[in-house]
């Protein structure tokens, strides 16, 4: 295929993915808006007032970046895992497999679709946060870089999950038993400096810590970890998972008999 045709094919997947999550917005865009508003009200407003300051900011301000990241992570992952598994389940993946479109374009298309939803929800949650607190970007470029990379990373994660999934249960396991605990323990609600040395060390193995803190640094200018290290960690993980997903597609795992 020519570059132009590749671009058309890529755009086709992205349009299809965006149309999908917009069509089912009560399942894709509304729930994170509601959940995050509840977080803002309960943790930020009600409980947060008693907690006082964290990292030099009032609690509401402190948790907002983490909550935005949490929704970006969940929605990027969720979009690709359910959409790609859905195409496998309905066999409409065959529409792509019979076409001359290379695997790389399929992979990039779904990643872009997941990022579109993740970033869209991130934006919605950010706007909602403005009703509760003020946000100013300390380092806009870092904020954007971290959120874009994180969204890409978890889109790829969702893709890999969908490749291996053979039934609907399989697409709920990772989000429930891995993503959610890692996110809650990823410094969304607290500074890991509050932990004992041991648990602090353990937390440093949690990749989400780097993303939440990278983003928080971008917005508030404070971070528990070295920001450069954060960015490098996220970028390397993204690259590694990308190659793995591409290789799985190439092998036809879970797709071609």
């Amino acid at each position: 295929m020519s570059w132009y045709q590749l671009w058309v094919a890529f755009g086709t997947i992205v349009v299809k993915e965006v149309r999908r999550f917009l069509r089912i917005w009560p399942q894709t865009l509304l729930p994170p808006a509601i959940t995050m508003t509840l977080y803002f009200v309960i943790f930020g407003n009600l409980i947060g007032r008693r907690i006082g300051e964290m990292g030099g900011f009032d609690y509401m301000q402190y948790i907002v970046p983490g909550l935005i990241m949490m929704s970006v992570i969940q929605n990027s992952y969720g979009n690709v895992v359910s959409s790609f598994f859905g195409t496998k389940f309905q066999h409409s993946i065959e529409e792509m497999l019979v076409s001359p479109m290379p695997n790389l374009v399929i992979l990039l298309g779904f990643i872009a679709g997941g990022m579109a939803r993740g970033l869209c929800v991130g934006l919605i949650v950010s706007l909602l946060a403005l009703f509760f607190t003020s946000l100013h970007m300390e380092h806009a470029w870092i904020t954007v870089l971290v959120v874009v990379l994180t969204s890409a990373l978890f889109s790829i994660g969702g893709f890999i999950n969908a490749i291996f999934a053979s039934k609907f249960d399989d697409i709920a396991i990772v989000p429930t038993f891995i993503l959610t605990p890692l996110t809650y323990l990823g410094g969304v609600f607290y500074s890991i400096d509050m932990l004992s040395d041991f648990w602090r060390g353990v937390s440093m193995l949690n990749p989400i810590v780097y993303m939440v803190n990278g983003f928080r640094y971008g917005v508030l200018g404070v971070s528990d970890v070295n920001v450069a290290a954060s960015l490098v960690t996220i970028a390397l993980m993204t690259l590694a998972l990308f190659c793995y997903a591409w290789w799985l597609l190439h092998r036809g795992v879970g797709i071609r008999q």
Partner: protein, 309 residues
Amino acid sequence: MTALSIDNLRKTYKGGVQALRGISLEVEKGDFFALLGPNGAGKSTAIGIICSLVNKTSGQVKVAGYCLDRERAQVRRQIGLVPQEFNFNQFEKVFDILVTQAGFYGIPAWIARERAEHYLRRLGLWEKRDNAARTLSGGMKRRLMIARALVHEPEVLILDEPTAGVDIELRRSMWEFLSELNRRGKTIILTTHYLEEAESLCRGIAIIDHGVIVENTNVRALLEKLQVETLVLDLAQPLSQAPEIGEFSIHLRDPRTLEVEVPRGTPINEIFLELARHEIPVMSLRNKTNRLEELFMRLVEQNLPGEQY
């Protein structure tokens, strides 16, 4: 020029089922070709391999001269597939399904929209363009898949049991549509269980059974192979024993039904003379089955399963 050439193609699924045991096949450009075979013969597997949905175990496939191993993209561009099972996104709109499929082939939306309209109109689905695919009837879904297979204007159209679950009227109009496409030069390959379909539509034919091609010829030559026809006579009165009539092999299927095997080129007058002499009135006369069906059964019986089954 060959549209499709398959050489010694084998497929063993995980779990050990040998779906194809070395099939070879050629389909000429412009042919209307039937791949016939009973359930589980390996038809869909062969098509799956040609269309990149199934990985082959060994063997060679060429489409319009392009090799499946080395020129995958070109091979895929040449083929339009109408699969056996519905495989579109049930929630998408009919029109979007076509435009999206064209997009996967790199066809920009403004061209794809024109083509989608053209094919939806030709297949009588234009009124349904804004409906979600799941709201279509079974026959409409089948036609949707035909339109989708044509939207990138392939050289070869492959249909896996296109008329399964389609009523007679729609089947006829589908046949007409396919014949028209074929007249305009498109190579068409279809699999079917309906032998009538192969007989009335197709020129080339291959019969596959248990992963082996048992016959590969053209429909006319195949029919000529049929040396014996069986006539079924319904009698007015019950008989206890079949009468003897010259050289014909006769047997009594039940007291009121006689079956007579007639070798090709033999006049059947003698049968009636003899029956009249025995005072056996005949009420009606018919052919036992579709002739092709008979031949098909015979070929398939000769190829009874080997040790693998």
